[in-house]
């Protein structure tokens, strides 16, 4: 069999079919997870004025960190700013549904929590929100993963995941890393 254009075209077509099949397999896997298992990227769209974060109700300094709402929902609120997280350590329980809410007063940041699917951008003017359930206890690193300036590499926080029975918020529903109860 001589090498000619027809042979080359045939092998390229075969390869294109194989690659098309692989792309189809991956797309079907992603679509199935999205539609049947509801595994989607964080898609919260909520606005906040970055100029008045410290004055607005939700992200004032006193309201940051982990809090158990009266309805039992566990929410941690964190501000990402150049070049730190406020607070830089949050306590959350394992095996419970938790919500993390972030916003930024200055530039675009991003976070991930190591060993979990928690991963979102934090854009000034918006509230980034993720829901998760931690399965292991321990201190997890939460670094900024979007270059935000010269101090970017120093910008990291800790997510302290504790056993559910060790998660004992105060009477105000709040709990912080330094608490001794």
């Amino acid at each position: 069999m001589a090498i000619n254009e027809e042979v080359i075209l045939k092998s390229e077509l075969r390869w294109a079919i194989v690659v098309g099949g692989i792309v189809a397999v991956i797309l079907i896997a992603i679509l199935y997870a999205a539609l049947a298992m509801h595994i989607n990227p964080p898609s919260n769209r909520e606005y906040v004025d970055p100029k008045t974060l410290h004055l607005s109700a939700e992200f004032t300094e006193a309201n940051l960190g982990t809090r158990v709402d009266p309805n039992g929902q566990i929410v941690a609120r964190v501000i990402a700013t150049q070049f730190e997280f406020v607070p830089n350590c949050i306590v959350l329980p394992a095996e419970r549904d938790v919500t993390l809410r972030f916003t930024s007063p200055d530039v675009i940041h991003g976070i991930l929590v190591s060993g979990t699917n928690v991963n979102t951008m934090i854009v000034p003017g918006y509230v980034a929100q993720v829901h998760t359930r931690f399965t292991k206890t321990g201190d997890l690193l939460m670094p900024c993963h979007e270059f935000c300036g010269l101090g970017h590499s120093q910008m990291l926080a800790t997510v302290r995941v504790v056993r559910p029975e060790a998660f004992r918020p105060g009477s105000d529903g709040r709990i912080a890393c330094g608490d001794r109860r």
Binding site: M1, W15, V18, A29, H38
Partner: protein, 64 residues
């Protein structure tokens, strides 16, 4: 500058026509080899992707 040296056998053909024949024979095998290498590398990539997706990403659950 030192001149590169080639093994003598690379040019050790009886005639130009024999060299052409051997060249053509080698080129016949080239597409099969390329397909085998491509299939192995793409297959490994696919297995790696599916492994990470089903064994790491999906068990960690939704965050949306």
């Amino acid at each position: 500058m030192v001149e590169p040296s080639y093994p003598e056998s690379a040019h050790d053909y009886v005639s130009d026509s024999e060299e052409l024949e051997r060249l053509e024979a080698a080129l016949h095998q080239a597409p099969k080899g390329a397909l085998v290498v491509s299939a192995i590398s793409v297959g490994l990539l696919l297995v790696g992707w599916l492994g990470l997706y089903y064994l790491v990403f999906l068990p960690r659950g939704s965050v949306g």
